[in-house]
């Protein structure tokens, strides 16, 4: 398993790098990870199936009088044999790679460096997984072709009708309670956060209501059918057993999808009819299409050139959360937070101005003045900006002047000009000529989204450069066409930045449409909840299915912590070591004295970590589907992003459905 990339089953945090088709190497590794994970489960399932059906065969009589176990297919045996052989190779690779050390030669495959045996291990695990998936998934796929949509539709319609006639839909009306108690009564936040609160409350309400109802219906459907014996009249018709699972799944999914659509519509009405503040509208009632750059830290050298970020990687102010790093504030501070934009839309060149938005964290070492923010200066430059370069002086032909001096002279009186003012044309011309634009001393407040306008001339300047020039390296090594440098001007204050804190606004879409796109994330969660519950219900009783499904679903929200714990990266050790620290009142980061007791506790924690590492691939990554966060923040949810999330959803749900297929197939309905 690659430590660099979380597996497909894993979490993608809002702040982390979103999956994208651009980064195909990363996608390829996600696919390999999935083959390893799903293949491992398939191998376990295949082994159990072969063992069980070998001990409890169901024979078909062949015309020649011989018997054949109809539960074991040649493909299964072949898949299991091939996978076992390749797993042996993987085992050998584990043994042979034990001697690898940092100096062992490495080869780069799909962007990642491996030792020879490390690479053999990765690909043999994936190949074995593929063989196991083919062996285990083959009968599933074959029977999928025997399924008939008319029967599945009949069962789905039955499930839908059952839920409606049992008045389950009335439960959904409880969402209206949210209308009676507006979010602003309970969340005394800044006016600009009002929509965030409403979106947060409505979507959480929808999540809780729909997930719990969907899960309850799914968990109890098949067990209730078996208990009431109604399933006898279905399985005695020409119905494939998996059709029952799929019919139930689609029926309940249809019901909660309809409820989700209605609730989303009601949520939109609530937002539009809620008299939200204009600040909130400016902040969130948008669907920004943001153009993000690559972020790094730079330090201004003696010659006013930014030096490599290898020397300066931001200030650590001692917070546990290391997502943001800080730059120190002072008029003479050399610290810069730098965003490089290697490519930008051509429409920027045709624009009069392009919005640049940002929201930073502030860490104050002095109290500062009340109601006054921290001042920040933005410098936007293109590759053609070279402050020390000598150019012809336009005012005195024949003489040379440094670009910096020429700019300072020409920009006099043009500080902090905004679009629409008479001087904006001059600012645009200046930016187009020099490839630089500066906005000085903008006041920022904690996490408050602000925007400045960058003249379109700057982008026209950038577009005149040849591709080879524009793709040269930035200070930290990343290519750039346009670079934004942020400097904190206020002494004794620190500004915290991360990659997604600053971006150009490419365009603004429709908020309502974006709100519905955000609901797709809720729908993804519903698919997960229902598929887990229905799979479990093919084996367990309703109550047990519901409880296990709910536990797995809730654990999904803590998956990041579980992963940290499982990999041993969390602070304070495993459960027993943490307990020992609590009892001994010991610091979480201090090393414990290695006594036999501590060693025993750590050994137990090691075992529990091993177990949890297996469990993490089963826990659904529900946190990644919190797309409404984007809506609340006013960011457009792109179709590519939705598609990527959909693919990860399929990758997670498919193994569950295959498990449901086998559990249902092997189940004695009337036992």
């Amino acid at each position: 398993m690659q430590a660099s990339f979380s597996p497909v089953f894993g979490v993608m945090k809002f702040e982390s790098e979103p999956l994208s088709f651009d980064n195909w190497q990363r996608l390829a590794w996600l696919g390999i990870d999935w083959l390893q994970d799903a293949g491992g489960f398939a191998m376990v399932g295949l082994s159990l199936w072969l063992l069980t059906t070998f001990l409890n065969p169901v024979y078909d009589l062949l015309p020649n009088g011989k018997k054949r176990n109809r539960l074991i297919t040649p493909l299964m045996v072949l898949g299991a044999t091939v996978a076992s052989c390749i797993y042996l190779i993987a085992l050998a690779a584990v043994y042979l790679s034990a001697d690898d050390n940092p100096t062992t030669p490495r080869v780069t495959v799909l962007g990642l460096a491996f030792t020879r045996w490390g690479m053999v291990l990765q690909f043999s695990l994936a190949a074995a997984g593929l063989a196991a998936i083919v062996g285990f998934g083959g009968p599933f796929l074959r029977d999928c072709f025997n399924m008939r949509w008319r029967r599945i539709y009949a069962l789905a319609k039955l499930s839908f009708k059952e839920a409606v006639r049992r008045r389950v839909v009335w439960v959904f009306l409880s969402i209206l309670i949210l209308y009676l108690f507006p979010a602003r009564w309970f969340f005394q936040e800044k006016p600009e956060d009002e929509i965030k609160s409403i979106v947060g409350v409505t979507t959480r309400g929808m999540n809780v209501l729909l997930v719990s109802v969907g899960m309850l219906l799914a968990a109890f459907s098949i067990p209730t059918d078996i208990k009431n014996l109604t399933i006898h009249t279905i399985v005695t018709k020409p119905v494939e057993r998996f059709e029952i699972v799929l019919g139930r799944f689609l029926g309940y999914l249809g019901l909660v999808t309809a409820a989700l659509l209605v609730m989303t519509g009601l949520g939109l009405i609530l937002i539009n009819a809620g008299n939200v503040s204009s600040e909130a509208e400016d902040e969130s009632m948008k669907a920004r299409v943001a153009k993000y750059g690559r972020m790094e830290f730079g330090k201004l050298g003696a010659n006013r050139q930014l030096v490599s970020s290898d020397e300066f990687k931001g200030v650590d102010i001692g917070r546990e959360d290391t997502y943001r790093k800080y730059i120190a504030g002072h008029p003479t501070s050399p610290h810069r937070a730098v965003w490089n934009f290697p490519s930008l839309p051509t429409r920027f060149e045709q624009s009069d101005s392009v919005p640049l938005e940002f929201a930073f964290d502030i860490y104050r070492t002095t109290k500062g003045e009340e109601g006054t923010g921290v001042q920040v200066t933005f410098e936007v430059v293109t590759q053609s900006w070279n402050p020390g370069k000598k150019i012809d002086d336009s005012l005195s032909p024949g003489s040379e002047i440094s670009m910096q001096d020429a700019y300072d002279r020409d920009a006099k009186g043009l500080t902090n000009v905004t679009p629409g003012s008479p001087n904006w044309v001059k600012v645009n011309a200046l930016a187009e000529r020099y490839g630089r634009y500066v906005y000085q001393n903008w006041q920022i407040f904690d996490y408050h989204t602000s925007r400045i306008a960058v003249p379109g001339g700057l982008f026209r300047n950038a577009s005149t450069l040849p591709e080879s020039a524009s793709s040269t390296q930035g200070p930290g090594g990343s290519s750039r066409r346009v670079q934004v440098r942020v400097k904190c001007e206020t002494p004794s204050q620190f500004v915290g930045v991360a990659r997604y804190d600053l971006y150009f606004v490419e365009s603004e879409g429709n908020f309502s449409l974006n709100y519905f796109k955000g609901a797709v994330g809720v729908w993804f969660r519903l698919v997960i909840a229902i598929s887990i519950a229905i799979t479990l219900s093919t084996y367990f009783a309703g109550v047990l299915s519901f409880l296990i499904a709910m536990c797995l679903f809730v654990l999904g929200f803590f998956l990041e912590f579980i992963r940290e714990f499982a990999s041993g990266a969390n602070i304070g050790g495993g459960p027993l070591e943490s307990l020992a620290r609590l009892i001994k009142n010991s610091n979480a980061t201090a090393d414990l004295d290695i006594t036999p007791t501590v060693r025993a506790l750590q050994m137990f924690d090691g075992v529990s970590r091993w177990i949890w590492r297996r469990v993490t691939t089963v826990i659904p990554d529900v946190d990644r589907y919190g797309l409404t966060d984007y809506v609340a923040q006013g960011f457009s949810i792109g179709p590519e992003f939705l598609l990527m999330n959909f693919l990860t959803l399929v990758a997670y749900v498919l193994p569950w459905l295959v498990a449901a297929y086998y559990l249902m197939k092997v189940r004695e309905i009337a036992a």
């Binding site: 109809r70 008319r150 009708k161 014996l229 006898h232 005695t236 494939e240 309905i669 009337a670």
Partner: protein
């Protein structure tokens, strides 16, 4: 080949089995606990053949293995040993179900549906078109006498009505083989008579019927052959008439004769001469079912008819 011949022939098996709808060989079902330990053998080495076009009855007390046999044939249970084929296909093969109709012991239907919706749902499971479903539903609702109640949900139905709609769903696909588990359960006497007539009609249409029942009179009335199970073992198998025949006794029936002591003496003399003994002499009794049927039919024919107590002297 007659029913009797089937019972008497050597038990050979054929997977193609054009003459036999059902064949079981050494069919055994053992229930085990979670740890795989044997709990109970519900069916033990059953060898059975059901011929096309006959009405076959499974008899036995509770726990004898009747319902287990049916569930094994339907693929609801998997055999612990032996095989069962239906239409030459393994019992676990769902494709065989296209030609089977099944009425469970209790009519296990969705009670939130009405009669029309119920039949429409089951019709969809057979991939019937809308026109086929509508036509067949109307026919079957008419057949089972629920036309007036077709829009009521099944939770409002009496047990007998549910049994009727249960039978309708079993016939929705015009099956060649009908399995009826306690078909007269919950039916009133007229309903029982109607059900038995219907079962006979099914046979007359060329269908094969397998039924199990506790009501021995019902089985005797309609079945061509029966199997008697006890404690999972097959105890008796054969033609009903043959099995119930009392070879030690002779029954003579006559019409237009008055019961007189002289007649009795003469009959006794003849019987004694042939080495026998007269056991009873008198009018035969009809069955209660026949009496009930007669009363109901007369009541229908003569509205207002009622019982009047006889005034004895």
């Amino acid at each position: 080949m007659s029913a009797t011949a089937v019972a008497e022939q050597p038990r050979t098996h054929s997977t193609t089995g054009s003459d036999f709808i059902v064949e079981t060989r050494n069919l055994t079902k053992t229930y085990k606990d979670f740890w795989g330990r044997k709990k109970k053998t519900a069916l033990n080495a059953l060898d059975l053949q059901i011929k096309r076009g006959e009405i076959f009855g499974l008899l036995g007390p509770n726990g004898s293995g009747k319902t287990t046999t049916i569930k094994l044939l339907l693929g609801l249970l998997f055999p612990s040993n032996g095989e069962a084929t239906v239409f030459g296909k393994p019992a676990a093969d769902v494709r065989k179900n296209e030609r089977i109709g099944y009425l469970p012991e209790e009519s296990y239907l969705y009670r939130f549906l009405n009669a029309e919706e119920t039949l429409d749902f089951y019709g969809r499971l057979f991939e019937m078109s809308r026109e086929q479903r509508e036509k067949k539903s109307a026919e079957l609702i008419e057949l089972v006498g629920l036309k007036e109640d077709r829009k009521r949900t099944l939770r409002e139905y009496s047990k007998g009505m549910r049994q009727r709609i249960g039978l309708a769903q079993a016939l929705i696909n015009d099956p060649e083989f009908v399995i009826l588990d306690e078909p007269t359960s919950g039916l009133d006497p007229m309903g029982t008579i109607w059900m038995k007539d219907l079962i006979r009609q099914l046979r007359d249409q060329g269908k094969t019927v397998l039924m199990c029942s506790h009501r021995l009179d019902d089985v005797q009335d309609v079945c061509d052959r029966i199997a008697i199970l006890f404690n999972g073992d097959l105890q008796e198998l054969g033609d009903v008439d043959k099995l119930v025949e009392d070879a030690a006794r002779v029954e003579v029936r006559a019409t237009n004769v008055r019961l007189t002591p002289e007649l009795k003496q003469e009959l006794e003399a003849v019987i004694t001469r042939h080495g026998g003994a007269l056991e009873s002499f008198g009018h035969p009794t009809t069955t209660l079912e026949d009496l009930f049927k007669k009363v109901v039919e007369e009541s229908k024919a003569r509205p207002g008819r009622r019982y009047l107590p006889t005034t004895g002297k």
